[in-house]
Protein backbone atom coordinates (compact mmCIF):
# COMPACT_ATOMS: atom_id res chain seq x y z
CA UNK A 1 0.00 0.00 0.00
CA UNK A 2 1.21 3.47 -0.70
CA UNK A 3 2.08 5.65 2.24
CA UNK A 4 -0.24 8.61 2.42
CA UNK A 5 1.15 10.28 5.52
CA UNK A 6 4.01 12.72 5.30
CA UNK A 7 7.07 10.91 6.55
CA UNK A 8 9.43 13.62 7.75
CA UNK A 9 12.44 11.36 8.23
CA UNK A 10 12.10 9.86 4.80
CA UNK A 11 11.46 13.18 3.09
CA UNK A 12 14.63 14.74 4.45
CA UNK A 13 16.90 11.72 4.54
CA UNK A 14 18.36 12.55 1.13
CA UNK A 15 19.88 15.76 2.55
CA UNK A 16 17.37 17.83 0.65
CA UNK A 17 18.98 17.20 -2.73
CA UNK A 18 17.51 13.88 -3.69
CA UNK A 19 14.18 12.22 -2.89
CA UNK A 20 14.59 9.27 -0.55
CA UNK A 21 13.18 5.78 -1.11
CA UNK A 22 9.85 6.59 0.56
CA UNK A 23 9.28 9.74 -1.43
CA UNK A 24 10.19 7.96 -4.63
CA UNK A 25 7.34 5.49 -4.17
CA UNK A 26 5.02 8.45 -3.68
CA UNK A 27 6.03 9.78 -7.07
CA UNK A 28 4.34 6.98 -8.95
CA UNK A 29 1.03 8.71 -8.33
CA UNK A 30 -0.34 10.73 -11.28
CA UNK A 31 1.59 13.84 -12.27
CA UNK A 32 -1.06 16.16 -10.82
CA UNK A 33 0.16 15.14 -7.37
CA UNK A 34 3.78 15.82 -8.24
CA UNK A 35 3.31 19.18 -6.58
CA UNK A 36 2.80 17.30 -3.32
CA UNK A 37 4.97 19.05 -0.80
CA UNK A 38 6.65 15.90 0.47
CA UNK A 39 8.50 15.20 -2.78
CA UNK A 40 10.14 18.56 -3.43
CA UNK A 41 13.90 18.76 -3.55
CA UNK A 42 16.32 21.62 -3.45
CA UNK A 43 18.65 21.26 -6.41
CA UNK A 44 21.97 23.01 -6.83
CA UNK A 45 22.23 23.98 -10.50
CA UNK A 46 24.40 25.89 -12.90
CA UNK A 47 22.68 28.41 -15.14
CA UNK A 48 23.72 26.23 -18.09
CA UNK A 49 21.68 23.38 -16.59
CA UNK A 50 18.74 25.77 -16.16
CA UNK A 51 18.89 26.69 -19.81
CA UNK A 52 18.96 23.03 -20.79
CA UNK A 53 15.83 22.25 -18.79
CA UNK A 54 13.09 20.31 -20.48
CA UNK A 55 9.44 20.47 -19.72
CA UNK A 56 7.87 17.24 -18.48
CA UNK A 57 4.18 18.13 -18.36
CA UNK A 58 1.88 21.17 -18.36
CA UNK A 59 3.59 23.04 -15.62
CA UNK A 60 6.08 20.39 -14.63
CA UNK A 61 9.70 21.19 -15.03
CA UNK A 62 12.07 18.29 -15.05
CA UNK A 63 15.78 17.87 -15.18
CA UNK A 64 17.43 14.50 -15.61
CA UNK A 65 14.10 12.83 -15.04
CA UNK A 66 13.23 14.51 -11.76
CA UNK A 67 10.92 17.41 -11.09
CA UNK A 68 12.70 20.69 -10.49
CA UNK A 69 11.09 23.11 -8.15
CA UNK A 70 13.42 24.78 -5.70
CA UNK A 71 16.96 25.51 -6.73
CA UNK A 72 20.20 26.93 -5.39
CA UNK A 73 22.46 29.10 -7.51
CA UNK A 74 25.81 30.70 -6.76
CA UNK A 75 27.06 33.52 -8.92
CA UNK A 76 28.00 37.14 -9.20
CA UNK A 77 25.45 39.93 -9.25
CA UNK A 78 25.96 41.83 -12.49
CA UNK A 79 22.89 44.06 -12.40
CA UNK A 80 20.28 45.19 -9.88
CA UNK A 81 16.91 46.70 -10.74
CA UNK A 82 14.44 47.73 -8.14
CA UNK A 83 10.91 48.93 -8.58
CA UNK A 84 8.88 49.54 -5.41
CA UNK A 85 9.21 46.33 -3.44
CA UNK A 86 10.48 44.16 -6.28
CA UNK A 87 14.22 43.68 -6.57
CA UNK A 88 15.59 41.97 -9.67
CA UNK A 89 19.15 40.67 -9.62
CA UNK A 90 20.97 39.40 -12.65
CA UNK A 91 23.07 36.56 -11.30
CA UNK A 92 25.88 35.29 -13.47
CA UNK A 93 27.71 32.12 -12.45
CA UNK A 94 30.11 31.95 -15.39
CA UNK A 95 27.95 29.46 -17.28
CA UNK A 96 25.24 32.01 -18.05
CA UNK A 97 23.01 34.49 -16.28
CA UNK A 98 19.48 34.41 -14.93
CA UNK A 99 17.22 37.00 -13.36
CA UNK A 100 16.28 36.48 -9.74
CA UNK A 101 13.35 38.44 -8.39
CA UNK A 102 12.95 39.10 -4.70
CA UNK A 103 9.85 40.71 -3.23
CA UNK A 104 10.47 42.83 -0.18
CA UNK A 105 7.57 42.65 2.21
CA UNK A 106 9.17 42.62 5.65
CA UNK A 107 11.96 44.51 7.35
CA UNK A 108 14.15 41.38 7.29
CA UNK A 109 13.76 41.27 3.50
CA UNK A 110 14.91 44.86 3.10
CA UNK A 111 17.91 44.21 5.38
CA UNK A 112 18.77 41.27 3.15
CA UNK A 113 18.50 43.15 -0.14
CA UNK A 114 20.37 46.21 1.13
CA UNK A 115 23.42 44.04 1.69
CA UNK A 116 23.61 42.98 -1.98
CA UNK A 117 25.74 45.07 -4.33
CA UNK A 118 26.79 44.69 -7.94
CA UNK A 119 29.97 42.65 -8.22
CA UNK A 120 29.22 40.56 -5.14
CA UNK A 121 29.10 36.78 -5.17
CA UNK A 122 25.76 35.57 -3.82
CA UNK A 123 23.92 32.38 -3.03
CA UNK A 124 20.33 32.36 -4.23
CA UNK A 125 17.58 30.03 -3.06
CA UNK A 126 14.44 30.24 -5.13
CA UNK A 127 11.77 28.68 -7.26
CA UNK A 128 11.99 28.36 -11.01
CA UNK A 129 9.37 30.22 -12.97
CA UNK A 130 8.87 30.64 -16.69
CA UNK A 131 7.75 34.11 -17.71
CA UNK A 132 7.24 34.81 -21.42
CA UNK A 133 9.26 31.70 -22.27
CA UNK A 134 12.20 32.94 -20.21
CA UNK A 135 13.38 31.32 -16.99
CA UNK A 136 13.44 33.46 -13.89
CA UNK A 137 13.95 32.62 -10.26
CA UNK A 138 11.41 33.68 -7.70
CA UNK A 139 13.88 34.25 -4.87
CA UNK A 140 13.29 33.20 -1.28
CA UNK A 141 16.74 34.17 -0.09
CA UNK A 142 19.75 35.93 -1.58
CA UNK A 143 22.84 36.17 0.60
CA UNK A 144 26.37 37.40 0.01
CA UNK A 145 29.13 34.84 0.07
CA UNK A 146 31.95 35.47 2.48
CA UNK A 147 33.91 32.22 2.19
CA UNK A 148 34.76 31.69 -1.46
CA UNK A 149 35.23 27.98 -0.97
CA UNK A 150 31.42 27.99 -1.20
CA UNK A 151 31.75 28.67 -4.90
CA UNK A 152 33.88 25.59 -5.45
CA UNK A 153 31.57 23.59 -3.19
CA UNK A 154 28.44 24.65 -5.06
CA UNK A 155 29.72 23.59 -8.46
CA UNK A 156 30.98 20.30 -7.10
CA UNK A 157 27.53 19.75 -5.60
CA UNK A 158 25.98 20.45 -9.01
CA UNK A 159 28.20 17.75 -10.48
CA UNK A 160 27.36 15.33 -7.68
CA UNK A 161 23.61 15.80 -7.96
CA UNK A 162 23.82 15.47 -11.74
CA UNK A 163 25.78 12.26 -11.31
CA UNK A 164 23.26 10.98 -8.79
CA UNK A 165 20.34 11.49 -11.12
CA UNK A 166 21.96 10.18 -14.26
CA UNK A 167 24.16 7.31 -13.16
CA UNK A 168 22.90 6.05 -9.82
CA UNK A 169 19.25 6.12 -10.79
CA UNK A 170 20.12 4.71 -14.17
CA UNK A 171 21.90 1.80 -12.51
CA UNK A 172 18.95 1.05 -10.25
CA UNK A 173 16.40 1.37 -13.00
CA UNK A 174 18.13 -1.01 -15.37
CA UNK A 175 18.26 -3.85 -12.82
CA UNK A 176 16.21 -6.85 -13.84
CA UNK A 177 13.59 -8.13 -11.38
CA UNK A 178 15.19 -8.71 -8.00
CA UNK A 179 15.96 -12.22 -6.87
CA UNK A 180 17.38 -13.42 -3.58
CA UNK A 181 20.74 -14.30 -5.05
CA UNK A 182 23.66 -11.94 -4.75
CA UNK A 183 25.86 -11.23 -7.72
CA UNK A 184 23.60 -13.20 -10.00
CA UNK A 185 23.81 -10.64 -12.78
CA UNK A 186 26.99 -10.10 -14.75
CA UNK A 187 26.48 -8.40 -18.11
CA UNK A 188 24.76 -5.09 -17.57
CA UNK A 189 23.53 -2.64 -20.21
CA UNK A 190 24.94 0.90 -20.47
CA UNK A 191 23.26 3.09 -17.91
CA UNK A 192 24.18 6.62 -18.99
CA UNK A 193 21.05 8.62 -19.75
CA UNK A 194 19.01 5.46 -19.91
CA UNK A 195 16.12 7.06 -18.05
CA UNK A 196 16.38 10.62 -19.22
CA UNK A 197 13.01 12.28 -19.04
CA UNK A 198 11.18 9.07 -18.15
CA UNK A 199 10.69 9.34 -14.41
CA UNK A 200 7.54 7.21 -14.24
CA UNK A 201 9.27 4.02 -15.29
CA UNK A 202 12.00 4.38 -12.71
CA UNK A 203 9.71 5.06 -9.80
CA UNK A 204 7.41 2.24 -10.86
CA UNK A 205 10.30 -0.19 -10.73
CA UNK A 206 11.19 1.01 -7.25
CA UNK A 207 7.64 0.31 -6.04
CA UNK A 208 7.69 -3.19 -7.53
CA UNK A 209 10.92 -3.97 -5.77
CA UNK A 210 9.65 -3.01 -2.36
CA UNK A 211 6.23 -4.65 -2.78
CA UNK A 212 7.81 -7.99 -3.60
CA UNK A 213 9.12 -8.49 -0.12
CA UNK A 214 6.83 -9.20 2.77
CA UNK A 215 9.21 -9.30 5.74
CA UNK A 216 11.66 -6.69 6.95
CA UNK A 217 14.46 -9.22 6.77
CA UNK A 218 13.83 -9.96 3.13
CA UNK A 219 13.61 -6.25 2.39
CA UNK A 220 16.96 -5.56 4.08
CA UNK A 221 18.49 -8.48 2.22
CA UNK A 222 17.14 -7.19 -1.08
CA UNK A 223 18.48 -3.71 -0.45
CA UNK A 224 21.90 -5.11 0.53
CA UNK A 225 21.96 -7.13 -2.66
CA UNK A 226 21.12 -4.06 -4.72
CA UNK A 227 23.88 -2.04 -3.10
CA UNK A 228 26.41 -4.85 -3.54
CA UNK A 229 25.54 -5.28 -7.18
CA UNK A 230 25.77 -1.57 -7.77
CA UNK A 231 29.22 -1.43 -6.15
CA UNK A 232 30.44 -4.30 -8.30
CA UNK A 233 29.62 -2.47 -11.51
CA UNK A 234 32.70 -0.75 -13.01
CA UNK A 235 30.47 1.17 -15.46
CA UNK A 236 28.89 3.12 -12.59
CA UNK A 237 30.85 6.14 -11.44
Amino acid sequence: MQANEFDGNAAFSGGGFMPSQATQTALERPSSSSKNSDVRCLLPLTVKQLRDLSRGGESDISIEGSDVNNIVLVGMVSKIDNADSEYTYRVDDGTGWVECTKWVTKHTDSVEVDAILVGMYVRVYGQLKSIQSRWTVHTFSIRPISDFNEITNHFIECIYVHLYYTKLKGCMNTQPQMTNSIGGMTAQPQVANSNFGVPGKGYGDQANLTNQYKTDEEQIHAISSMVLQYLRRPACL
Binding site: T46, K48, Q49, G75, M76, S78, D92, G94, T95, G96, W97, G119, Y121, D147, F148, N149, T152, N153, F155, I156, C158, I159, H162
Partner: protein
Protein backbone atom coordinates in the same frame (compact mmCIF):
# COMPACT_ATOMS: atom_id res chain seq x y z
CA UNK B 1 30.20 40.37 -14.33
CA UNK B 2 29.82 41.55 -17.88
CA UNK B 3 30.11 38.19 -19.51
CA UNK B 4 28.82 37.95 -23.02
CA UNK B 5 30.00 34.39 -23.23
CA UNK B 6 30.47 31.76 -20.55
CA UNK B 7 33.83 31.64 -18.79
CA UNK B 8 35.49 28.25 -18.50
CA UNK B 9 36.98 27.11 -15.20
CA UNK B 10 40.70 26.67 -15.86
CA UNK B 11 43.89 25.93 -14.03
CA UNK B 12 47.35 26.56 -15.46
CA UNK B 13 47.44 23.39 -17.51
CA UNK B 14 43.98 23.91 -19.02
CA UNK B 15 44.55 27.52 -20.03
CA UNK B 16 46.11 26.45 -23.35
CA UNK B 17 42.82 24.79 -24.34
CA UNK B 18 40.95 28.09 -24.16
CA UNK B 19 43.31 30.59 -25.78
CA UNK B 20 41.29 33.46 -27.19
CA UNK B 21 38.26 32.64 -25.05
CA UNK B 22 36.83 33.81 -21.77
CA UNK B 23 38.21 31.96 -18.78
CA UNK B 24 38.14 32.17 -15.02
CA UNK B 25 40.78 30.96 -12.62
CA UNK B 26 42.04 31.46 -9.12
CA UNK B 27 45.68 32.42 -8.63
CA UNK B 28 47.83 32.46 -5.55
CA UNK B 29 49.53 35.85 -5.72
CA UNK B 30 53.34 35.74 -5.96
CA UNK B 31 54.01 39.29 -7.09
CA UNK B 32 51.84 42.19 -8.10
CA UNK B 33 52.35 45.59 -9.63
CA UNK B 34 50.13 48.28 -11.03
CA UNK B 35 49.55 46.57 -14.38
CA UNK B 36 49.73 42.85 -13.69
CA UNK B 37 49.80 40.06 -11.17
CA UNK B 38 52.16 37.11 -11.32
CA UNK B 39 50.49 34.16 -9.66
CA UNK B 40 50.63 30.43 -9.18
CA UNK B 41 47.70 28.47 -10.54
CA UNK B 42 46.02 25.76 -8.49
CA UNK B 43 48.05 23.12 -10.35
CA UNK B 44 51.35 24.87 -9.80
CA UNK B 45 51.91 26.73 -13.08
CA UNK B 46 52.99 30.34 -13.21
CA UNK B 47 50.35 32.52 -14.80
CA UNK B 48 50.38 36.25 -15.46
CA UNK B 49 47.17 38.22 -15.22
CA UNK B 50 47.35 41.59 -16.95
CA UNK B 51 45.14 44.40 -15.85
CA UNK B 52 44.45 46.51 -12.81
CA UNK B 53 44.29 44.33 -9.73
CA UNK B 54 42.34 45.46 -6.68
CA UNK B 55 44.16 47.14 -3.83
CA UNK B 56 44.76 45.58 -1.39
CA UNK B 57 45.17 42.13 -2.86
CA UNK B 58 44.53 39.02 -0.79
CA UNK B 59 46.58 35.82 -1.09
CA UNK B 60 44.14 34.33 -3.57
CA UNK B 61 42.47 36.24 -6.34
CA UNK B 62 39.96 35.14 -8.95
CA UNK B 63 40.64 36.46 -12.41
CA UNK B 64 38.05 36.47 -15.17
CA UNK B 65 39.18 37.50 -18.60
CA UNK B 66 40.39 36.36 -22.00
CA UNK B 67 43.25 33.89 -22.29
CA UNK B 68 45.96 35.47 -24.44
CA UNK B 69 48.23 32.47 -24.46
CA UNK B 70 48.98 29.42 -22.36
CA UNK B 71 50.21 31.43 -19.39
CA UNK B 72 48.68 34.89 -19.72
CA UNK B 73 45.20 36.19 -19.07
CA UNK B 74 43.97 39.65 -20.01
CA UNK B 75 41.89 40.24 -16.93
CA UNK B 76 38.56 42.05 -16.97
CA UNK B 77 37.30 41.22 -13.54
CA UNK B 78 39.18 40.64 -10.31
CA UNK B 79 37.78 39.28 -7.07
CA UNK B 80 39.73 38.88 -3.86
CA UNK B 81 39.20 35.32 -2.66
CA UNK B 82 40.80 35.79 0.72
CA UNK B 83 43.68 33.99 2.36
CA UNK B 84 42.11 30.63 3.17
CA UNK B 85 40.96 29.39 -0.22
CA UNK B 86 41.31 25.67 -0.95
CA UNK B 87 43.27 25.50 -4.20
CA UNK B 88 43.28 21.71 -4.49
CA UNK B 89 39.46 21.52 -4.45
CA UNK B 90 39.28 24.23 -7.09
CA UNK B 91 41.83 22.37 -9.16
CA UNK B 92 39.71 19.22 -9.09
CA UNK B 93 36.66 21.26 -10.06
CA UNK B 94 38.55 22.65 -13.08
CA UNK B 95 39.44 19.16 -14.21
CA UNK B 96 35.87 17.92 -13.85
CA UNK B 97 34.37 21.01 -15.46
CA UNK B 98 36.58 20.59 -18.52
CA UNK B 99 36.30 16.86 -18.70
CA UNK B 100 33.39 14.54 -18.11
CA UNK B 101 31.02 17.29 -16.91
CA UNK B 102 31.80 19.97 -19.45
CA UNK B 103 28.16 19.94 -20.59
CA UNK B 104 27.05 21.31 -17.23
CA UNK B 105 29.23 24.37 -17.63
CA UNK B 106 29.79 25.29 -21.27
Amino acid sequence: MDISSPAAFVNGGLLRMHVGRKVRTVLQVIRSDIASVMGKSTDGFQVVAKGSPPVPLTSYVEVIGVAENENTIRAELWTNFGDTFDGSNYDQLCRLANGEFKHLFL
